[in-house]
């Protein structure tokens, strides 16, 4: 068989489209809708990937085909039509706008409330940025500093090319292709994401953030992130953006894998603000994420998340505490308003001796939304003296929303020490009147009460993120009391 060229493939795909009875003017860089082995191969080829990667994707695809979409989460939604999605499109060619005057004023108002700088506003809303000396030099200095320390921080596709040994060794070891329906799908079709490697004994001198990968732009539908902290190293990683991320892609299924070697520490912070749908629950992103980290001896992984967006969220950042004396932490704020649904929590798997985990979950529900905490604390038989402390607090606003807690505890070692505390409270009329009486209007009062409620988690965020996250909570709950 002669070499299968890209042109051949394109032709074949076009014909296929035609067979199905419709034809659209396909932009050169967008694949037709649907998913099959050819599409998977084509994605791999687009990305110029080595053979092993293509095979890896194909295997994932075959696994995915045999899987069923899970239904155990406490969310209701119309399942996506997987054959109606286009699995590859080149970096979005959004029309560049000439100035901020052309941007939706509502969006600008939100930016202003968040205190986002003008340059950042331009970047987020797709306005051409003039060359700003400052930000260019910041990015350059940033890259130089990292290189000096031997830190690798690049798009995952670049890592597959330049550091195949690391990717091959670690990708899929924490979240295997077989793990779940969405992880399998992601493994087959991921196109974007980040890779990060911190060498032995290196303390990453700055917060690593996708923000700095400015040339990357946009966020993918199927992101894949791999962070490896070698022995004795430290890294703090920030993901996401407080600005409202509007995206035509309805389904988002990311996979994040963290590896903390002996004595290493990874702090992973997320702010997620995908489009939650409108006031009537129309539209909005489905966010089905698999995030997991493994802790080797004396290491620590700390997940902090602020989830305010998405119509449906399904997300359980977890820690496998394999090494003795390792520590896992999960700090979460999940806000749901209008018709949003969130089923989120964590899994702490205690395998090593003297392993410790802390779970602090703050759920805030307003409107007609449903907010669930789902958490598993598992203590294996070898895990002597494992300790867990879990605290789940729910705050309700109004009478039409719901808060649910699903804690699972499995302990196979008698020395385990597991604590679970849960509270449910409601923002009371008396609290609001008290604030009002002091001259604080109702919207601001809610923000104050919610921030107070979420404080323990907000305090875990890196400083610059915390301030933005605080404002974000305020904006997410706007109009929730009327």
């Amino acid at each position: 068989m002669s070499k299968y060229t890209e042109d051949d493939l394109k032709k074949e795909l076009e014909t296929q489209e035609y067979e199905y009875g419709f034809y659209t003017d396909i932009e050169s860089d967008t694949f037709p809708k649907g998913l099959n082995e050819d599409i998977v191969r084509a994605i791999s080829k687009k990305k110029n990937e080595p053979e092993w990667m293509t095979e890896w994707r194909l295997e994932a695809f075959r696994i995915w085909q045999k899987m069923e979409e899970p239904e155990w989460a406490n969310v209701k939604y119309k399942k996506p039509e997987f054959q109606e999605i286009s699995y590859y499109s080149a970096p979005k060619q959004k029309k560049e706008l000439e100035s901020l005057d052309q941007v939706d004023p509502e969006l600008l108002k939100t930016f202003e409330k968040l205190g986002i700088s003008i340059d950042e506003q331009k970047r987020l809303s797709g306005v051409a940025i003039d060359i700003v000396i400052d930000s260019v030099s910041v990015a350059t200095t940033f890259k130089a500093t990292l290189a000096e320390k031997g830190i690798i921080f690049c798009p995952i596709s670049e890592a597959i090319q330049k550091h195949p040994e690391l990717v091959k060794k670690y990708m899929g070891t924490i979240v295997p292709k077989t793990d779940n329906f969405y992880a399998a799908l992601n493994s087959a079709v991921f196109t974007d994401g980040s890779f990060c490697y911190i060498p032995k004994g290196v303390r990453c001198p700055m917060e690593l953030s996708t923000y700095f990968r400015i040339n990357e732009g946009g966020t993918g539908q199927f992101e894949r992130t791999l962070v490896i902290a070698d022995k004795g190293s430290y890294v703090s990683y920030l993901e996401g953006c407080t600005a409202p991320a509007r995206d035509e892609n309805q389904l988002h299924a990311a996979v994040v894998e963290l590896i903390a070697m002996d004595d290493a520490e990874i702090k992973y912070s997320t702010v997620q603000n995908w489009f939650p749908g409108d006031k009537d629950g129309k539209g909005g992103v489905f966010n089905f994420v698999t995030k997991r980290g493994i802790c080797h001896e004396n290491s620590k992984i700390s997940w902090t998340q602020v989830e305010t967006g998405s119509a449906v969220t399904w997300k359980y950042p977890s820690c496998i505490l394999k090494g003795d004396n390792s520590v896992g932490e999960f700090y979460s704020i999940a806000v749901t308003n209008n018709y949003q649904q969130a089923d989120t929590g964590t899994k702490m798997i205690h395998i090593g001796k003297n392993t410790r985990s802390t779970i602090i979950s703050k759920g805030i529900s307003a409107g007609k939304s449903q907010n669930s905490y789902r958490g598993l604390v598992q203590v294996h038989s070898r895990a002597d003296n494992a300790r867990n402390f879990t605290q789940c607090d729910s705050l309700l606003m109004g009478n039409e929303c719901g808060a649910h807690t699903f804690p699972y505890i499995e302990a196979k070692n008698k020395t385990a020490h597991i604590e679970h505390e849960a509270t449910t409270s409601k923002i009371g009329e008396d609290q609001l009147f008290y604030c009002n009486q002091r001259g604080i209007d109702t919207e601001k009062a809610i923000a104050l009460i919610v921030n107070g409620f979420s404080k323990e988690v907000l305090n875990k965020l890196p400083m610059e993120f915390a301030v933005e996250a605080q404002k974000l909570l305020e904006i997410s709950l706007e109009g929730s009391v009327g």
Binding site: G428, Q431, Y434, N436, R438, G439, I440, L448, N451, K455
Partner: protein, 247 residues
């Protein structure tokens, strides 16, 4: 400053205030006394604009303007302050943060910039000293785990910070021991000027030993049944509330 005319107010179908007339001028201290359930706290809440209560008739005029259409925060910006009988707890929000938010909200309504941190800090020091407060309370969550007395002292601290035109103290004396009562009364007296006014709502005349009122009104069954000078408080204490029931 404050003029209440034929005020009728209640909750759902129940009328609690049945025609109250009261005039408070700048520089005056008025005491409102009465047995339990006479409508004292309702009156305080209605002046402050609590929407749990419906105003059925009459008017509340502050500085020659009716405030009936104003929300509680707008009334606060006009200088109304209510020291709550049962101050609420707000977990995770420190007293400092709370009072800072309140002061800046008021300033914003007046078209002023936020108060610089330095000035805020100075004022906090000054006012907490005035009320002999342990400053550790200021960094604790608002009223959370505070004793009854600590909560009341915190209310007066907030009053000192906000410097209201019209302060209504609703049963501020309950839960205070004699030492705390003296400190709080001393604080209120120091904050008193010819430009502001205070309404003290109390069951007992104990607090009135330390904050001497210009006028005393007796509220019974939603109406002011008797008004007089400070000596009326003593008369009440002697004769008991049964006396007013027969007036």
């Amino acid at each position: 400053m404050l003029e209440i005319k034929n005020l009728h107010a209640g909750i759902e179908d129940k009328e609690i205030l049945r025609g109250i007339d009261l005039e408070v001028k700048a520089g005056e201290i008025h005491a409102i006394m009465g047995p339990n359930g006479s409508g004292k706290s309702t009156l305080a809440s209605v002046i402050a604009g609590n929407e749990t209560y419906d105003v059925l008739d009459g008017d509340i005029i502050l500085d020659e303007e009716s405030v009936l259409e104003l929300s509680p925060d707008e009334r606060a910006h006009k200088g109304v302050f209510l020291s709550f009988q049962y101050p609420v707890e707000i977990p995770g929000v420190t007293t400092t943060n709370f009072i800072k938010t309140a002061i800046n909200a008021k300033r914003k309504a007046q078209g002023l910039e936020d108060l610089p941190a330095k000035d805020m800090l100075k004022m906090i020091r000054e006012k907490s000293d005035l009320l002999e407060m342990d400053r550790k309370f200021l960094s604790r969550s608002l009223n959370e785990g505070f004793s009854g007395g600590e909560k009341k002292r915190n209310e007066i601290f907030q009053m000192a910070m906000l410097a209201p035109k019209l302060a209504i103290l609703d049963e501020t004396d309950s839960g205070l021991d004699i030492d705390a009562l003296k400190i709080v009364a001393n604080g209120v007296n120091k904050l008193k000027s010819k430009d502001n006014a205070v309404i003290i709502i109390t069951h007992y005349q104990r607090l009135l030993e330390y904050i001497v009122p210009d006028f005393v009104h007796v509220l019974y069954n939603g109406k002011i049944v008797k008004s007089g000078g400070k000596e009326l408080a003593h008369e009440l204490e002697e004769k008991g509330y049964d006396w007013v029931k027969n007036l």
